[in-house]
């Protein structure tokens, strides 16, 4: 078990050096969002417009997960009758 764990951690540290240099991401999709977020959505905040307008389905799924988790926690701690504090 120690052998497999050390091989895995060595793989992770090697990946940290072989990834792209920190500060120069190879992506052009976000240039479109940074330039056109103010005229298409009308919000000054690009992150909020991505969360609620360009990717609204992810927010819908996350709201569903939060609802299911709260229902599960409240259901696990039901009590049949109210107990009273002894003085």
């Amino acid at each position: 078990m120690a052998v497999s764990l050390s091989i895995f951690i060595g793989f992770l540290i090697a990946t940290a050096f072989l990834i792209h240099p920190f500060g120069y991401p190879p992506s052009e999709m976000d240039d479109y969002i940074i330039e056109n977020a103010q005229s298409e959505t009308g919000a000054n905040n690009a992150v909020t417009s991505v969360v609620f307008d360009y990717r609204g389905f992810d927010t819908l799924g996350e709201a569903t997960i939060l609802f299911a988790a709260v229902t599960g926690v409240v259901m696990l701690f039901r009590r049949k009758k109210l107990s009273r504090i002894k003085p």
């Binding site: 959505t41 919000a43 909020t48 417009s49 969360v51 307008d53 609204g56 609802f67």
Partner: protein
């Protein structure tokens, strides 16, 4: 908890609640939004539970009312998503119209609060959902561990 802690908690909770509502309402101008403001509000409720004990807080804040708040937040979110169904499912149908529909000038500018279409209403709906959900989790778990020590 002692008298100093109870007095300061009942004084500081006002600032925590107003700060949470400020972060929710200005979500389209400054960093923040629905999730962050709901978490700040729930941390104010956590301060109240720690200072006063969960039995006293349970007399005013029952799980039934929190459940109604959370469900209404979810229904408002889905209703706004269905509002622009004429074009696509999540269409922003209030940009350019009269209610929240100014368009800001491009480039850096001081923010105008009557912008961004349907996004402020979505922020309020998600903020209601998150604050009710996290407060319900905190209250139920605090009640379960308090009553467990006393039942025997």
């Amino acid at each position: 908890m002692s008298k100093i802690v109870r007095t300061m908690a009942s004084l500081l909770i006002l600032f925590a609640l107003i700060y949470g509502v400020y972060i929710i309402m200005h979500g389209h101008l400054t960093p923040g939004g629905g999730f962050q403001g709901g978490a700040v509000f729930a941390s104010g409720v956590a301060l109240l539970i720690v200072a006063f004990g969960s039995e006293i807080v349970h007399k005013s804040l029952k799980e039934h009312h929190l459940s109604i708040l959370e469900s209404s937040g979810a229904l408002i979110f889905i209703g706004l998503a269905f509002g622009g169904l004429a074009i696509v499912f999540f269409y922003n149908f209030l940009v350019g119209s009269s209610i929240f529909g100014h368009i800001p000038p491009s480039g850096p500018n001081p923010g105008d609060i009557w912008t961004a279409g349907v996004i402020p209403f979505m922020n309020i709906a998600v903020g209601l959902k998150v604050l009710a959900g996290l407060s319900a989790i905190l209250l139920v778990m605090a009640l379960a561990t308090t009553l467990m020590e006393v039942e025997e």
